[in-house]
């Protein structure tokens, strides 16, 4: 009796596993253009990855409704990489096995670097809406990589220039979240500040993301008499730090990056967010394409879009446009089209330079005024 059951059990497991092995291999071939979307779709960083899937879905639906690209329908293949390098390589090979033509992703710089090792050998064009590590474009190692977001150093330069030339600050604390994105940004900010010789970096430190309380760091900022904090990282930690500073009745200026230029930041930090500076893509909210993109998300998902949505929307448009212009999905032809053909997107009219960074997508500094990010000209 017992023997029988465990036998049955084993058989079920074995058969189940074999079936699992076979199913993904079966995929049917149809003549479509396959757009892979890779990024964190689950796990703690999911909120940075899901908007890009949605953006791609919206663009693809629209384009398919209009008859597709080169007369073919566009097929979306979304794969999760949880923002981990080791999973990203699996994701990349999975997309390769499914014969993708181009890839939108990955979300995190680390995962992108790991995955690019695989895409590069297979000559697949990858465009990230959010990977900001400067090496990705500047090292020249990844000719197949493009991005629709400014790199860490470009953002840091803008913020530092703003702090030195507009605000005329002398003592600045640089704080980061120890992460790939935040620390990369902070390193450059520190470097530019020191090179300028105009201001002193009184504090350079990392905080632990997700920690319950940042009062010790906040006290340290106060103790070092910093006039401003330049923060590298995302909005959850930024809002905690700002809130704690203001609750301690400190008036220290807070300057941050694109990860903080998010409406959620204002909602979370509430009245404490007033006066915070953050750099971000040039204001395009009047751009008709942008208005349409934002509205499409609201209609389809019933909520406001999340981080990197516009960048992902732009990247999808740029990729599909390049395929259309190139007349095929051939690697060289599409690369050439990306670098030469201008395309109208929600963040402006763009094309890509030889390294893969977007040209035409400007960056500017914003300030929170009356609960809204206002572009400073």
């Amino acid at each position: 009796m017992m023997k029988n059951r465990s036998k049955k059990w084993m058989i079920t497991v074995v058969v189940g596993m074999l079936l699992c092995l076979l199913v993904p291999g079966l995929g049917f071939a149809a003549d479509t253009i396959k757009l892979g979307v890779a990024g964190a779709h689950s796990g703690d960083l999911a909120s940075y990855g899901i908007p890009s899937v949605r953006a791609a879905q919206i663009v693809v639906d629209e384009i398919n409704a209009k008859g597709g690209v080169l007369g073919k329908q566009v097929e979306l293949l979304a794969e999760d990489d949880v923002c981990k390098p080791e999973v990203a390589t699996n994701t990349a090979t999975k997309l390769l096995s499914k014969k993708v033509d181009v890839v939108l992703g990955h979300i995190c710089s680390g995962a992108t670097k790991a995955a690019l090792g695989i895409y590069k050998d297979s000559k697949i064009i990858v465009m990230s809406p959010s990977a900001t590590n400067p090496d990705l474009t500047q090292s020249g190692e990844y000719p197949n990589f493009y991005r629709t977001i400014a790199s860490d150093d470009a953002q840091a330069k803008l913020d530092v220039d703003f702090a030195l030339n507009v605000l005329k600050l002398k003592k600045i604390a640089v704080i980061h979240d120890k992460g790939d994105y935040g620390k990369g940004f902070a390193e450059f900010a520190k470097k530019f500040l020191e090179e300028s010789g105009k201001a002193e970096v009184v504090l350079y430190e990392g905080v632990t993301p997700g920690a319950v309380d940042y009062s010790a760091v906040v006290q340290k900022v106060k103790q070092n008499k910093a006039e401003a904090v330049i923060y590298g990282g995302y909005h959850p930690e930024a809002s905690k730090i700002v809130t704690q500073m203001r609750k301690k009745r400190m008036k220290t200026i807070f300057i941050s990056d694109d990860g903080v230029k998010d409406d959620t930041f204002i909602k979370v930090a509430g009245k404490y967010s007033e006066g915070v500076y953050a750099s971000g893509p040039k204001d395009c909210s009047q751009n008709p394409l942008n208005i349409a993109a934002v509205k499409a998300h609201k209609d389809k998902y019933g909520e406001a879009h999340g981080a990197f949505y516009e960048n992902a929307y732009t990247a999808t448009l740029a990729l599909l446009n390049a395929i259309q212009k190139a007349g095929s999905t051939d690697y060289d032809a599409v690369s050439k089209a990306l670098k030469t053909e201008w395309v109208e997107t929600p963040i402006g009219k763009i094309r890509f330079d030889d390294r893969g960074d977007a040209i035409g997508a400007g960056f500017s500094v914003y300030q929170v005024q009356n609960g809204k990010y206002i572009e400073l000209k």
Partner: protein
């Protein structure tokens, strides 16, 4: 069999779960937009689902209890699963092995690049699982920071390559050695600790290593990681991505076989017996004249060696590493492999690794639900097979009368 009593019980379960999931499943607030969404449909679905599932749940339990009455389910000594039986009998053993060999050798020819790639990952985890099995399964030392040694291995290859141009084949033993050294370094101060205190210290150790890698930019390049780590070479022949992957697959098969061989020999050696004795009863073990400190330290060192080698291969496979790959979740997953597979049992650990690493990949079909299902699988597996999938068979020298201890 469906009696009134049963229906009543299920009905109560249904009401209870509808109550339980009410705020989180039904109401969805958006504090950013100040909107509330009411999803009553979910409540009905939950109600129906829990009503039906509670029948299954109770039924499974009845079977488990019935089984338990025949034999104490937690006593592994005599329970021999069909798998182990197959292993014992030559009649099945031989053709089984041959078929398995053909499958293993033919695997890269039959399946796509993706399948080979995830299989390599699974094989790395087999190695890690077998390594941790020495520490947890054999020596009974609960280690929640095993990933630290994995990180040491991966970073030693990446850094040695970056600074000195050292190749994969030299880095592989070096990574193992360095990890063993770190194993002793960790083992030394924690000799006195037991059980969960040991667990938390090892957890801390794992986090310390990760945080140092994350913060010490000059040494480890910080969170942006190290890219362009070469894949293992084969007498300097240039290979395509596919070639590399297949090569790495066969390499992993050989390494796993080597690991199985070593672990198997260790298990039956003097030191292996000492580990098992230590796991069963520290005091009795000492009284028998076993050097406790030495035994524990060898367990840590040998366990760490495999993690180190696994790390080197990991770095070579992904060609990029950063500290984000070495979080505490990784340690937890490896521990799950060992416990779920069956502590102390080599075949158990192998099947545990295959299931736990391949399952999330195949669950991709369920996309966002995959981790949810993964969690459920862990719970259900543990409840219905608490000793693991293929539990270890104790070597028993039996006296006629059945005795309990």
């Amino acid at each position: 069999m469906v009696t009134f009593e049963e229906i009543k019980k299920s009905f109560l379960a249904c009401i209870w779960f509808m109550f339980l999931t009410f705020p989180i499943m039904v109401i969805r607030v958006n504090t950013v937009q100040n909107e509330i969404e009411w999803r009553w449909k979910n409540m009905i679905l939950i109600g129906i689902a829990s009503f039906i599932l509670s029948f299954f749940w109770r039924n499974l339990f009845r079977q488990k209890i019935k089984k338990g009455k025949q034999k104490d389910p937690y006593e592994n000594t005599e329970k021999i699963s069909i798998f182990q039986k197959v292993l014992k009998e030559k009649k099945y053993y031989f053709p089984g092995t041959v078929a398995l060999c053909f499958f293993v050798i033919g695997f890269p020819l039959l399946f796509s690049l993706y399948q080979i790639n995830i299989m390599i990952t699974a094989l790395i985890y087999v190695m890690l699982g077998l390594g941790l099995n020495i520490v947890v399964g054999l020596a009974g030392l609960l280690d929640l920071g095993y990933v630290a040694f994995y990180a040491v291995g991966a970073y030693s290859y990446a850094l040695l390559h970056y600074h000195f141009g050292i190749g994969f084949w030299i880095a592989l033993p070096l990574g193992g050695l360095l990890s063993a050294f770190f194993g002793i370094l960790l083992g030394y101060p924690v000799l006195r600790l037991r059980g969960d205190y040991l667990a938390i210290v090892t957890l801390g150790f794992g986090e310390i290593i990760r945080l140092i890698l994350e913060n010490w930019n000059e040494f480890s390049f910080g969170p942006s990681g190290i890219a362009n780590i070469p894949r293992p070479g084969f007498f300097g022949i240039k290979m395509s991505l596919e070639g590399h992957t297949i090569y790495l697959y066969y390499l992993m098969i050989l390494l796993v076989l080597f690991t199985i061989f070593v672990v198997n020999r260790l298990q039956n050696s003097r030191i292996g017996r000492a580990w098992i004795a230590l796991r069963e009863d520290e005091i009795a073990c000492q009284a028998m004249g076993i050097d406790k400190a030495k035994t524990k330290l060898t367990a840590f060192a040998l366990g760490a060696t495999w993690a180190g080698m696994g790390g080197v291969i990991f770095a070579a496979k992904t060609t990029f590493i950063n500290p984000a790959s070495f979080t505490i979740w990784e340690s937890i997953i490896i521990l799950c492999i060992v416990v779920l597979g069956g502590m102390g049992s080599i075949f158990g650990v192998i099947s545990g690794a295959m299931i736990l690493i391949l399952l999330p990949e195949y669950l991709r079909a369920f996309s966002e639900y995959r981790m949810l299902i993964f969690g459920v699988v862990l719970v259900v597996m543990m409840i219905f097979r608490p000793g693991g999938i293929i539990p270890d068979i104790r070597r028993a020298y039996k006296y006629k009368s059945k005795e309990t201890h």
